[in-house]
C-alpha cells in the first residue's frame, strides 16, 4: 500500500499523477482543444476562438456568481431567471425612455443602472431567507427562481422587447479594436470609409463584452483569493459553526454572497440586452443555472463548500463551451453534448473524490 517501501520511480509516478489529478480540468481542456483542432477543419481559427469566448461571457458571469455561493456550501438556482428578469426590465426602461425622446446615451445608461439595481433584490431576499430564516439554499433560490420567472413573464408577456436605442446593439457587439490588414487600425469605433473589400477583411479584436466580463472576473477572483472577504467565504464553507465562533458575521456575509450572485446575473442580463439589442426571456431556461453549476463543479469546487476558484470555474465554462462549439463544427448533433456534459461532470466529481486532499487555500 502507499507509503511502504516505494521505489524512486513509483514515487515520481505518483507525484505526476497527483499533479495531473489536481489540475485535471485544465489538462482536459487542453486535450479537448487538441482533439477538436485535429478533428475539425475550422476549429483552430482565431474567429472560432473569439466565438467561444464571446458565447462564454453570459455563462461565465453566471458561473462566477455561483462560485461564491457554492464555496459557502450553498447553491443559487435562480440566476437564470434573475438574468431574464433584469434583461427584460432594463430593456423596457430603455425602450420607454428612448420612445419618450431622451438621448440614447441617457436611456441606455439609466436602463442599465436600473437593471443592475434591480439585480440586488433577488439576492437580498435569497440571502435573508438562507441566512436568517435558515431556509435551505436549494429551496430558497428555487422559490426565487419561480418568482423571478413569474414577474419577468408578467412584465414582458412572453414577447421580446423591441425598439431599444440602436446604439445599444452597436456597443454590445463592438470590439476593443478593429483591424483592416495593411490599411488601418482603430480603437472602439469601426473605421469609416471602408470599401467592400476592406469590410470583408475587417477583423475585430477582443469584443467589448468579453473585456468587460474578463475585467469583472479578474476583480472578483482577486476578492475571492486575496481579501478577508474571500477568506471568510471559504471559512464559512468549511465550517459555518467554526466561522461563527471565530466572530465572523456569518448571516451578513451570506446575504452579501447571494447579492453578489444575483448581481452577476444582473450584469449578464444587461450585457445580453446590449448584445442582442432586444429584451428577451424564455421560460424553459433552467439550463442556464444548471450549466453554470456544472461548470463550477467541473472547475474544482465541491458542493459541500469550502473549495473552488474563479479560475477553475472559467476553465469549466471553457470546457463546456468548447465542447458545444466543437460538436457544432464537426456536425455532431447537439444533443450529444448533453450526454457529454453529464459524463464530464460525473468524471469531475469522481476524480475529485479519488484525488487525496492536499491543497490548502493558497493566497
Amino acid at each position: 500500500m502507499f507509503g511502504q517501501g516505494l521505489t524512486q520511480q513509483n514515487k515520481t509516478a505518483q507525484r505526476v499523477l497527483l499533479y495531473i489529478g489536481e489540475r485535471w480540468s485544465a489538462f482536459f481542456l487542453l486535450l479537448m482543444l487538441v482533439v477538436f483542432s485535429l478533428g475539425a477543419p475550422n476549429f483552430f481559427a482565431f474567429k472560432n476562438f473569439t466565438n467561444i469566448l464571446y458565447f462564454s461571457t453570459t455563462y461565465a458571469l453566471l458561473a462566477a456568481g455561483e462560485t461564491f455561493v457554492i464555496i459557502t456550501g450553498g447553491i443559487d438556482l435562480s440566476v437564470g431567471f434573475v438574468m431574464g428578469f433584469v434583461n427584460v426590465s432594463s430593456a423596457i426602461i430603455m425602450r420607454n425612455l428612448h420612445a419618450a425622446g431622451h438621448p440614447e446615451a441617457v436611456s441606455m445608461l439609466i436602463g442599465a443602472a436600473v437593471g443592475l439595481a434591480l439585480g440586488v433584490i433577488p439576492g437580498l431576499i435569497n440571502g435573508l431567507l438562507v441566512a436568517r430564516l435558515r431556509v435551505p439554499p436549494f429551496i430558497a433560490t428555487l422559490g426565487m427562481y419561480g418568482i423571478a420567472n413569474g414577474v419577468a413573464l408578467n412584465l414582458c408577456e412572453g414577447f421580446p422587447i423591441y425598439f431599444l436605442p440602436p446604439r445599444a446593439r452597436e456597443i454590445g457587439n463592438g470590439f476593443l479594436a478593429y483591424l483592416v490588414p495593411g490599411k488601418g487600425f482603430s480603437f472602439f469605433h469601426r473605421p469609416q470609409n471602408l470599401d467592400a473589400g476592406d469590410l470583408r477583411a475587417l477583423t475585430g479584436i477582443l469584443p467589448t463584452t468579453v473585456i468587460v466580463t474578463v475585467v469583472i472576473l479578474i476583480i472578483f477572483a482577486f476578492i475571492l483569493g486575496r481579501t478577508k472577504f474571500g477568506r471568510h467565504t471559504y471559512a464559512i464553507g468549511g465550517s459555518m459553526d467554526a466561522a461563527i465562533r471565530a466572530g465572523i458575521n456569518v448571516p451578513g456575509h451570506l446575504v452579501r454572497i447571494y447579492i453578489i450572485s444575483s448581481m452577476f446575473a444582473a450584469v449578464a442580463g444587461v450585457l445580453y440586452v446590449f448584445r442582442a439589442g432586444i429584451g428577451n426571456f424564455t421560460t424553459m431556461s433552467s439550463s442556464y443555472e444548471l450549466f453554470a453549476i456544472a461548470s463550477v463543479v467541473i472547475g474544482g469546487a465541491s458542493l459541500m463548500g469550502g473549495k473552488g476558484t474563479i479560475g477553475g470555474t472559467v476553465i469549466g465554462i471553457l470546457i463546456l463551451m468548447t465542447l458545444q462549439t466543437g460538436l457544432n463544427i464537426t456536425g455532431i448533433p447537439s444533443f450529444y453534448r448533453y450526454i457529454a456534459t453529464g459524463l464530464i461532470l460525473i468524471t469531475a466529481v469522481v476524480i475529485d473524490q479519488l484525488t487525496p486532499e492536499r491543497r490548502t487555500i493558497s493566497a
Binding site: 500500500m1 502507499f2 507509503g3 487525496p356
Partner: protein, 256 residues
C-alpha cells in the same frame, strides 16, 4: 483455562500515514469485564470498531469463540453476537425510541399471508421492557429521539445493545451523559450481565466506574498495548501513570 470469547492478534489499522492501532493483542474471556483504557487518540475506539465490523483491519486477525472471523460489515458482527454501544450512540435522530432499539433488525409480521409488515406492538412492548430494566424515564416511545435529552438517548442506545442477547458486549463511554443514579444503574447492569457469563469490554475515562466493575484492564497508548493489569492488584494512580506514560515499567500480568 477456557478459551477466550474474543481474541485479536497483531490487529492493525492505518489511516493514510497514521497508524491508529499497532499490532494489538488482546483477549476477552467469558464472564469477565475488561476495561480498555487510554488517553484520547490511543486507538481504543478504532480497535473496537474493527471488532464490531465498522472498520476493516489492515493487518492481524480476529478470533471469536475460537474461530477466525473476517467481518465485512457491521451486520456480520451483529450476527455473531457482538453488540456495540458507541460513544456517539449511533442513533437515527428522526426515528423514535423503539425504532432505534430495533434498527436494522426490525420485527415483522405477515400481512395478507406473505407481505412482511413492521410489528409495531411487539417492538414497543419489548422496548418498554428493556427500558424499564434501565429505569430511565422516557416520556413517550413515539416521539423522535431528537426531542429527548442526552441521558435518555444514552438509555435508548444502551437498551439496544443489551436487548439482543449479546455474546460479547462492547460499551464505549456508557455512563458519559448520565446522572449519578443512572450511572449506578448501568454499573449494576454490567455486573448482572457478567453474572450471566457475558463478557464485556468497557471503555471509560471514569476511573471510579472502571475500578468498580472491571476484572482486568488493558491500557493502550498511541495504538499499542502498553500494559495489562488485574484491577484489584492495581491502583488508580498506577493506571493514570500507565495511560499518560509516566510509568514505563510493564509488568505482564495475564490471568492464569
Amino acid at each position: 483455562m477456557e478459551n477466550p470469547m474474543l481474541e485479536v492478534r497483531s490487529l492493525t489499522k492505518r489511516f493514510g500515514g497514521l497508524v491508529a492501532v499497532d499490532q494489538m493483542d488482546m483477549q476477552v474471556y467469558p464472564g469477565e469485564v475488561v476495561g480498555l483504557l487510554g488517553d484520547n487518540g490511543a486507538g481504543k475506539s478504532t480497535l473496537i470498531k474493527m471488532v464490531s465490523g465498522v472498520y476493516h483491519p489492515d493487518g492481524g486477525q480476529i478470533f471469536f469463540q475460537g474461530k477466525e472471523v473476517k467481518m465485512v460489515s457491521p451486520m456480520d458482527a451483529l450476527e455473531l453476537g457482538i453488540e456495540t454501544l458507541y460513544q456517539d450512540l449511533a442513533l437515527a435522530e428522526n426515528l423514535d425510541a423503539y425504532s432505534n432499539i430495533f434498527l436494522g433488525r426490525e420485527k415483522t409480521k405477515p400481512f395478507l399471508g406473505f407481505i412482511k409488515v413492521l410489528d409495531h406492538e411487539f417492538m414497543q412492548e419489548e422496548s418498554k421492557k428493556v427500558l424499564n430494566r434501565l429505569e430511565i424515564e422516557i416520556p413517550s416511545l413515539h416521539n423522535q429521539i431528537k426531542t429527548l435529552s442526552g441521558g435518555q438517548r444514552q438509555a435508548v442506545a444502551i437498551g439496544r445493545s443489551i436487548y439482543w442477547n449479546a455474546k460479547l458486549l462492547i460499551m464505549d463511554e456508557p455512563t458519559a451523559a448520565l446522572g449519578v443514579h443512572e450511572q449506578r444503574k448501568v454499573l449494576d447492569l454490567v455486573r448482572l450481565l457478567r453474572s450471566q457469563n457475558i463478557p464485556i469490554i468497557v471503555i471509560s475515562h471514569q476511573l471510579y466506574d472502571i475500578f468498580s466493575v472491571t476484572d482486568r484492564l488493558v491500557i493502550m497508548r498511541r495504538g499499542k498495548k502498553v500494559a495489562e493489569r488485574i484491577t484489584k492488584d492495581t491502583t488508580p494512580e498506577e493506571v493514570v501513570g500507565l495511560i499518560t506514560g509516566s510509568e514505563e515499567v510493564e509488568r505482564n500480568n495475564r490471568p492464569g
